[in-house]
């Protein structure tokens, strides 16, 4: 049977995490269909149709899908579910929001945040902040799954030519409404897609002080992340948070600055290829997982590092 992957997009472009979810679907095997639900999302559907290995792109274009409201998106996916053995979405805040609704309406379990596919019924997922990996087998007829991007390499975005099919919208549930958005604007790469991340913690001391990290990030073409303590203290916006309950990242290089290394933070970055820790406390737990540790005052070390690059 086929797998339905729910594309994540902003009506203008496809979000990268979709390509990791497609890659997980390829590991499951069988034909792959991609659902693009949006409003004025023709360009997204066209882009999606060039992902190699997709059999069909199913497009639903209606005003009530302009924003991925959980009630509407879940009802649509449930209406399209018959005929699919697997339904996948990226484990982003969007996927995490509507997919459990889909699972409950289908009366099946959801397998959250998978990082590996063993076979069509069996998946690996982290539990306890990634301190353990559980291999779970689903007995349900339909597997509803969210995919952790760091577990699967993104599939190619172009080279394919899938059929594009228009699908009837489901009714507007009319239960919820978007009042407004406050999106963080940044010219830097997106955290979950960046090759290099520079993250700051409570040790940064203030939001203004983050400018020294930004200078380093600009030099490296890096994204800027943070610990929960830095977000809670109001130094940076919430979407900078890396960790068990924030974003999970695995860049080529992760530079942790003024971050102690609590398990909840490590849960979000310990799969990075190379980890650098800069901390004035030589006993900080972050040094136990860092490839390169530098004990020193970040206010001296970081500007010097920027200057030497």
């Amino acid at each position: 049977m086929a797998t339905l992957v729910i594309a994540e997009h902003d009506n203008a472009g496809l979000k990268g995490a979709t390509l990791n979810a497609v890659s997980a679907a390829q590991n499951i095997g069988g034909p792959i269909h991609l659902l693009v639900a949006g409003s004025g999302c023709g360009a997204v559907a066209a882009a999606a149709s060039t992902i190699p290995g997709i059999e069909k792109v199913r497009v639903v274009d209606a005003p009530h899908y302009a924003h991925p409201l959980a009630e509407n998106l879940a009802a649509l996916v449930v209406a399209l579910a018959p005929g699919y053995s697997h339904i996948l979405a990226p484990a982003t805040t969007t996927g995490k929001n509507f997919m459990p609704r889909v699972a409950a309406l289908l009366d099946v379990a959801q397998v959250s945040d998978i990082v590996a596919v063993i076979d069509a019924d069996t998946f690996v997922r982290p539990i306890y902040a990634g301190n353990a990996l559980a291999t779970v087998q689903s007995a349900d007829a339909v597997k509803v799954i969210t995919v952790r991007s760091t577990g699967f390499d993104a599939t190619a975005a172009s080279g394919g030519s899938a059929a594009v099919e228009t699908v009837q919208a489901a009714a507007d549930a009319g239960m919820s409404r978007l009042l407004g958005q406050e999106l963080t604007r940044s010219a830097r790469p997106e955290l979950t897609a960046a090759r290099i991340i520079v993250s700051g913690g409570r040790g940064m001391g203030s939001g203004e002080n983050f400018s020294i990290l930004e200078a380093l990030a600009d030099r490296l073409g890096a994204a800027v992340g943070a610990s929960r303590a830095a977000v809670d203290s109001g130094f940076v916006p919430n979407d900078y948070q890396v960790g068990q309950t924030g974003k999970v990242v695995a860049p080529e290089l992760y530079i942790a600055v003024g971050i102690s290394g609590a398990i909840q933070h490590l849960a979000g970055m310990k799969d990075s290829k190379v980890i650098v820790a800069i901390n004035k406390d030589g006993e900080a737990p972050i040094f136990q997982i860092a490839d390169y540790g530098l004990v020193g005052d970040l206010f001296q070390v970081v500007p010097e590092l920027t200057a030497r690059l």
């Binding site: 009630e71 805040t93 459990p100 609704r101 982290p126 779970v136 958005q181 977000v231 390169y292 030497r308």
Partner: protein, 249 residues
């Protein structure tokens, strides 16, 4: 209006969990257990709504072993009015938890159910959304601000790109994120008062819910350990290592 707050008993967030040698799970014997931190935030939010005169009654619910009574007593000490324990020694997965909560919501008719966004043991992040689906209610997950007005809730949500605000019709489901509030410390007088509050005990069978797990855990393993790294002596050394050894810059 009435608010339901589901609270889960989990391994305390400060505990470094160990995987059992036989690969069946993690060690929970003699390990400190606490209320899931997101559920503490949920209790606190309900109490603040009560203090603001919007909420009249707070009912805390936990599904778990007899010891989950302690978790419920904590909820009562934070300020819940009464508690319900749905007692079972079995592992109860999010879909079954949602079905139990659905049965309780149908009996209690709350206008709002505030759950944590995620239990820090299973890291599922499912139950609230599933409960919303089963009840046919709207949802606002990952809340960092909740405002109740005229049969609606205005909820600011923490999303990947920043923040967004939804208006949802009541009755509704809200799940908490870290920045919603800072839970108060429970005081000794409130712990004493909590001991006298009503705590009813029921069982999943009494609510007509089959809790048989849908997901079978085949094994639990420790993740691959990172090899210990090196300490560099200064910035020049660090730059050299990143360039020549790690070759990442």
């Amino acid at each position: 209006m009435k608010v339901l707050v589901p609270v889960k008993r989990v391994v305390d967030y400060n505990v470094k969990v160990r995987v059992k040698a036989d690969g069946t799970g993690v060690e929970t014997a003699n390990v400190k257990m606490s209320m899931n931190p997101f559920d503490e935030i949920a209790c606190e939010e309900a109490v603040r709504l009560k203090e603001a005169g919007i909420v009249t009654e707070i009912v805390a619910v936990s599904i778990g072993p007899a010891q989950a009574q302690e978790t419920l007593r904590t909820a009562l000490a934070i300020g819940a009015d009464r508690a319900i324990l749905v007692e079972t020694a079995a592992e109860v997965q999010p879909l079954a938890v949602a079905k139990i909560l659905q049965a309780i919501a149908q009996a209690e008719s709350p206008q709002l159910v505030i759950l944590g966004k995620q239990a820090i043991d299973d890291d599922s992040n499912q139950t609230g959304q599933m409960l919303a689906a089963l009840l046919g209610w709207p949802q606002a997950t990952f809340a960092s601000k909740v405002k109740i007005a005229e049969g609606n809730a205005e909820v600011t949500r923490e999303v990947d790109g920043g923040l967004e605000t939804l208006s949802i019709r009541l009755p509704a489901i809200v799940t908490t994120d870290l920045r919603l509030n800072e839970p108060r410390y429970v005081t000794l007088p409130n712990i004493m008062k909590a001991k006298k509050k009503q705590l009813d005990v029921t069982r999943p069978e009494a609510l007509g819910v089959d809790v048989a797990p849908r997901l079978k855990t085949l094994k639990v393993e420790e993740p691959a350990k990172r090899k210990g790294g090196v300490m560099v002596k200064d910035v020049a050394d660090l730059v050299a290592k990143l360039k020549n050894e790690a070759k990442v810059i």
